[in-house]
């Protein structure tokens, strides 16, 4: 990302040193503000995250970094005063600090500053893999005061800030943050399209109105006819909202089960053989297959295990313009799914490819662009091209395509298969497995636990901020309004940022401001 390096190597190194010493704290903070997904909190926070991949792995590693690490360690493993010797693995029972319930038995390691990955006090918990244990440990950590879930790239940023990263790692920082925020974005999109998302959006909407009405009362009530009872209505809304948020935080069973696993979506034109591919992969007729184009209309989901990794495989409606309302909705859902996918299997009917290899490559690039317009050049690993129906091609043509298409740069990996004869299936599975494995190495990809923990933290802040409104309601409306603002900001970190203009829009829609 820094082509200047080759030319100005020395300058670069000096600048890095400068960054790491003088200015880097502000870079760190810079990175931590942006839109709703990221939190602009300062360094004093202690952060935690699942640092290993997920899926069926024996051991999961949870990392903690920041000043409260020692407290977290003591509380989680029941140490009263002495900390374990630095950098030594210790087998302990890991308990929930509130309920004192034993969550797991695992290794803990204590890395006092500055000898840790981030240069801060750090703790690692090596616990048993599997969503139940990791979720429980992450939630328990979240209940320790001063702790919050790490944001995208935050461990790396702290390491960068402490001068713990070498040159090549710094170069990758931007890309890394990009990748992680992308993963978070997809994760958030998935959740926001569900039940839970609607709930949060509804809260956000109510809070926006509350804030707009308080702001209208502050900015205009002295000159304008703001009708009676505006603030009383806000009081009621705030009270109800606070109760709802608290209830939601208490009731673990409420809300939908979050979808686990790497999200793999099968997409492509009608009749390319997408449903056949789904059935082949899950070895049962999960989806209806017919020669009629447009057979699949809704998203068909199957949970699969590919090479030991959890995968949620979705078959979608064939992408085409249709006048059928049901099919149109199916196509819309298909596109939405593709947008949220970690990996897209783009299925193409190989008999429809031009016979000239160069033309075939162009055809595939075009096709890719129409199905996945958001896919950028360096992200080709997020897609596999599956050329189906090779049983209908002459053997020589299949061979030629197989050899030549691999050399075309800019195309994702190409697999030629026949769902009819299972020809090429083995190679395809190898490619698919390695893609899934790479994706699972990314702790953010497909892991709802982290998002869940983040949501909890923000919802707790939201509830606390609403209490501020109630505390100051009668004494100082400016400070009370600040509470609603804070609540909306916290919720906005889940649902997306709310700007001042949006609040003003509501004010002017709801009130006649004449002076």
């Amino acid at each position: 990302m820094l082509p200047l390096r080759s030319v100005y190597g020395g300058i670069f190194r000096a600048a890095i040193r400068k960054l790491q010493t003088s200015r880097s704290p502000c870079l760190h903070r810079l990175l931590s503000t942006r839109d709703g997904l990221q939190v602009g909190l300062a360094d004093a926070d202690t952060i935690f995250a699942l640092s290993s991949g997920h899926g069926r792995c024996g051991v999961a590693v949870v990392r903690v970094s920041g000043p409260a690490s020692a407290t977290a360690l003591r509380r989680m493993v029941g140490l009263t005063h002495r900390l374990p010797p630095p950098r030594t693995a210790l087998l302990r029972s890991i308990t929930d600090p509130c309920s004192k319930e034993v969550l797991d038995r695992g290794l803990v390691l204590w890395f006092p500053a500055p000898h840790s990955f981030t240069g801060e006090d750090s703790v690692e918990f090596h616990i048993h893999g599997g969503p139940a244990v990791t979720t429980a440990v992450l939630q328990a950590l979240g209940s320790v005061p001063g702790m919050r879930p790490a944001e995208a790239g935050e461990f790396t940023r702290r390491a960068f800030q402490a001068g713990k990263l070498d040159l090549t790692e710094v170069e990758g920082l931007g890309d890394l943050i990009h990748a992680e925020t992308e993963a978070q974005r997809r994760q958030a999109l998935r959740q926001m399209s569900g039940e839970l998302g609607r709930l949060y959006q509804d809260w956000s909407h109510k809070l926006k109105r509350c804030l707009a009405h308080v702001e209208a009362f502050i900015d205009f009530s002295e000159d304008e006819l703001i009708e009676d009872g505006v603030l009383e209505r806000v009081d009621r809304s705030v009270c109800d909202l606070q109760a709802e948020v608290k209830q939601h935080l208490k009731d673990e069973r409420r809300g939908e089960r979050l979808r686990c696993g790497v999200q793999v979506v099968i997409a492509g034109a009608t009749n390319a053989g997408k449903s056949s591919l789904l059935n082949t992969l899950c070895q049962r007729p999960a989806a209806i297959v017919s020669p009629i184009a447009g057979t699949t209309r809704d998203v068909v989901e199957t949970a699969l295990d590919i090479g030991g990794f959890p995968v949620l495989l979705s078959d979608t409606a064939g992408l085409r313009d249709s006048s059928d309302l049901v099919e149109q909705e199916g196509v819309r859902r298909a596109r939405e799914r593709v947008h949220q996918a970690d990996l897209t299997l783009l299925v193409v009917d190989s008999t429809r490819l031009p016979s000239d290899v160069q033309q075939a490559a162009d055809f595939l690039s075009d096709h890719l662009r129409t199905v996945l317009p958001s896919l950028k050049q360096p992200e080709t690993e997020k897609c596999l091209l599956v050329l189906n129906k090779t049983d209908l091609l002459p053997e020589a043509q299949t061979q030629k395509l197989q050899q030549e298409l691999r050399r075309v740069s800019g195309l994702p990996a190409v697999c030629l298969i026949s769902c009819q004869t299972n020809e090429g299936l083995k190679d395809f599975l190898t490619v698919l497995q390695s893609s899934v494995k790479t994706l699972c190495g990314d702790p953010l990809c497909g892991a709802p636990t982290l998002t869940q923990a983040r949501h909890r933290a923000h919802l707790q802040q939201c509830a606390a901020a609403l209490a501020q409104y109630q505390r100051y309601r009668d004494a100082d409306l400016a400070l009370a309004a600040e509470g609603v603002r804070l609540a909306l900001t916290s919720l906005g970190r889940i649902t997306g940022r709310v700007g001042a203009e949006e609040i003003l829009d509501i004010i002017f829609k709801d009130f006649c401001i004449g002076k």
Binding site: M1, I11, A42, G174, H178, A478, L479, F508, K515
Partner: protein, 684 residues
């Protein structure tokens, strides 16, 4: 005390006599065009900074005129007045001189949103501003119409970038040159006036339209993007024709609170203040609006008017079937007119008369001057840098309605800032910027230059993210020292601010030093409800945070340590209540300030910048051209990765430039040495 003494009226004469022929110089540091709220603050600020300043106005006797409502301040706007005053601007002191009805709005809602406001006597306000300008050293006021703005052709090294060289007046005299020109032409840029179906060119009734040359230079030569906005003013009503007994009386505060940090009282005695009256519209008003709609071209045209301060026509159209408030405001001590706030209208005059007579107190009212609408061009303010200088024209500054704002206070704030920066530029000082974390003026300017406007921009307290820190009571602490450093605050005010600051600090330290158990506090001050569940000691500062506690109470218990600070009792109470919240804000404020201290070069070509940025982000940056990294992070669609890339790029290029400079210096020294040795070896 009211520090300002007005010179006798006769001394206004020299001001009027400064005609073109009498100009002692044809070269100034700063020329300010326009004598409204922006222009007067700009000229005064430029002169305070030390620049030789010329204020050019169409009519000297309208300098400092309140062309619309006879009032100053309010919620949000009052914050601006306090900040302008903290920077030694004019309008706060002028308000204290001319105010005839003072009140603090939002008194019950918390000091952060208190809105100091006053009804003004138009004549006194104008007098004050004119006498103030007259007595300002280094400032000349000239009556004339500016025909042309003189700019250079773009410098070949910096394509598309011009430089201002001066102005030419319409009277055909020689051009007047200046390093900086501040344009504050208000609604006069391609302005048109509307009453009923009549349209005439102009920016204000009674004034000639400005020269078309100025518009031409801005649009055609400098290629600035302009938009069109509209505004309006209500008819003025003959006071004795109104039966005020039918309206609700709104008395002023019994003790007027001055706007200015330098005044402890206002010119108007408490009992001399005049009241305002409030009345409501009737269904008849709505009927007349609808009947006259076809005769009302201003309303029919598709130009953006504000959602606030709308005309009575748009109010009844948007919220039909209800009563709307109308404030009847005095225009001055001796004035025979009333200003009906909320009745701005553009229908034909006969319909205006019928309309106001539908409102009970005005059944027999007479109109002195009908209301009218104005449509005018504004320059899209995203083309300005935070110093309010036009990005592509060095030395050209814009302030006030020309930037798409509405309101006296908004105009004055920009005027002060543009004047200050114009002067700094002419004196070869670096531009000054105000952050949105430290002032409402900063919020105003940042909103304008980084977001632009879609409707006339007005200040609201909800626009300020750090509202609890940016309070009207502490504007002096926030801005006066900074203003002094920048040159726009004169010594007496600075000394006063230093005194206040150190007293407040001492007083707070004294409050912190008083530490007692809750039991002792309860015994000493039984009425404030100190909670007994706290085991630790509580400081006086913490006690002061209780709703019912006052500094006076504490001072009566600890007279020896606290009674010296009675002067600041209200400010100390506010400081105590807000301290925890301001401390919470501080980290976020520091972060934003650091980002804002990292400026992005204005000549970056984002399209070809050799760093990894997506095409989308490049387009956003190219369009917005943020001036700091902080502004870049606030742009919609920016990614953290892009911010890292930008941050790295800026740092490396800075570093690179320094190294190159060092190398050049070294090479030069090498060459010098070579020359020396050559000289030595030369045979003589």
């Amino acid at each position: 005390m009211l520090t300002q003494k007005l010179p006798a009226v006769q001394s206004f004469l020299p001001l009027v006599s400064r005609r073109v022929g009498h100009l002692s110089s044809r070269r100034y540091d700063v020329i300010v065009v326009g004598g409204g709220h922006a222009g007067t603050e700009a000229a005064a600020a430029a002169a305070r900074v030390g620049a030789d300043t010329l204020l050019v106005t169409q009519k000297i006797h309208t300098v400092g005129a309140l062309s619309c409502n006879p009032s100053l301040g309010g919620v949000g706007k009052g914050h601006l007045v306090r900040e302008i005053d903290a920077l030694d601007g004019l309008c706060g002191r002028a308000g204290d001189w001319a105010g005839i009805h003072f009140s603090i709005l939002n008194r019950s809602k918390g000091p952060a949103v208190w809105g100091p406001r006053a009804q003004l006597d138009r004549q006194r306000y104008r007098e004050f501003i004119q006498s103030e300008l007259l007595s300002t050293p280094r400032l000349t006021v000239l009556e004339g119409s500016v025909e042309e703005l003189l700019v250079t052709e773009p410098n070949p090294d910096e394509p598309g970038r011009h430089r201002v060289t001066g102005i030419r007046l319409a009277d055909g005299s020689q051009p007047i040159s200046a390093a900086s020109v501040v344009l504050t032409t208000g609604t006069f840029l391609s302005g048109s006036l509307f009453v009923g179906q009549t349209t005439s060119p102009g920016g204000r009734i009674g004034d000639a339209p400005s020269g078309a040359g100025l518009t031409h230079t801005l649009r055609e030569r400098l290629g600035l993007k302009v938009g069109r906005l509209r505004t309006g003013t209500p008819p003025r009503i003959v006071k004795h024709s109104v039966d005020l007994s039918l309206a609700t009386l709104h008395p002023p505060d019994s003790r007027p609170t001055p706007f200015s940090f330098m005044n402890t009282r206002t010119r108007c005695e408490p009992e001399e203040q005049l009241p305002c009256h409030l009345t409501l519209t009737t269904p008849g008003v709505e009927r007349i609006v609808r009947e006259s709609l076809h005769l009302n071209c201003h309303i029919q045209q598709d130009t953006k008017g504000p959602r606030y301060c709308p005309s009575i026509e748009s109010r009844v159209m948007r919220f039909p079937g209800r009563s709307h408030q109308v404030w009847l405001e005095p225009e001055g001590v001796t004035s025979d007119l009333l200003y009906p706030q909320g009745l701005s209208m553009t229908m034909p005059p006969d319909a205006q008369l019928r309309l106001i007579r539908e409102i009970p107190p005005m059944r027999r009212a007479e109109i002195h001057t009908p209301g009218y609408g104005v449509q005018y061009d504004f320059v899209c303010p995203t083309q300005l840098s935070p110093s309010l200088q036009v990005k592509n024209t060095q030395g050209l500054f814009l302030a006030g309605q020309i930037n798409g704002t509405t309101g006296y206070e908004e105009a004055a704030a920009q005027g002060l800032w543009a004047g200050l920066n114009g002067a700094r530029r002419s004196l070869s000082m670096p531009p000054a910027a105000l952050s949105r974390t430290e002032s409402y003026i900063g919020v105003l300017i940042d909103d304008l230059v980084s977001r632009g406007v879609t409707e006339p921009y007005r200040m609201f307290t909800s626009r300020a993210e750090f509202r609890t820190s940016l309070r009207p009571d502490n504007a002096d602490l926030r801005l006066t020292p900074k203003g002094f450093e920048l040159g726009c605050v004169l010594s007496p005010r600075y000394q006063e601010a230093v005194r206040v600051e150190s007293s407040l600090r001492e007083a707070m330290a004294a409050l912190q030093a008083v530490r007692l158990s809750t039991t002792s506090w309860r015994k000493m001050l039984p009425d404030i409800g100190v909670s007994d569940n706290k085991s630790s000691l509580m400081t006086g500062m913490e006690i002061l945070q209780y709703k019912d506690a006052s500094f006076e109470m504490l001072a009566s218990v600890f007279p020896e340590t606290l009674s010296a600070y009675m002067e600041f009792s209200q400010r100390l109470k506010i400081e105590a209540v807000y301290k925890p919240h301001c401390d919470l804000n501080r980290r976020e404020i520091e972060r934003i300030q650091k980002e804002e201290n990292m400026s992005l070069p204005q000549d970056i070509d984002y399209v070809s910048l050799p760093v990894s940025l997506s095409l989308e982000v490049r387009e956003i940056l190219e369009r917005a051209r943020p001036s700091t990294l902080g502004a870049a992070t606030r742009l919609e669609g920016m990614t953290p990765a892009a911010i890292v890339a930008l941050f790295n790029y800026v740092h490396f290029t800075e570093k690179q430039e320094k190294t190159m400079q060092r190398n050049q210096r070294n090479q030069k020294e090498d060459r010098d040495e070579d020359l020396c040795s050559t000289n030595v070896s030369l045979p003589r």
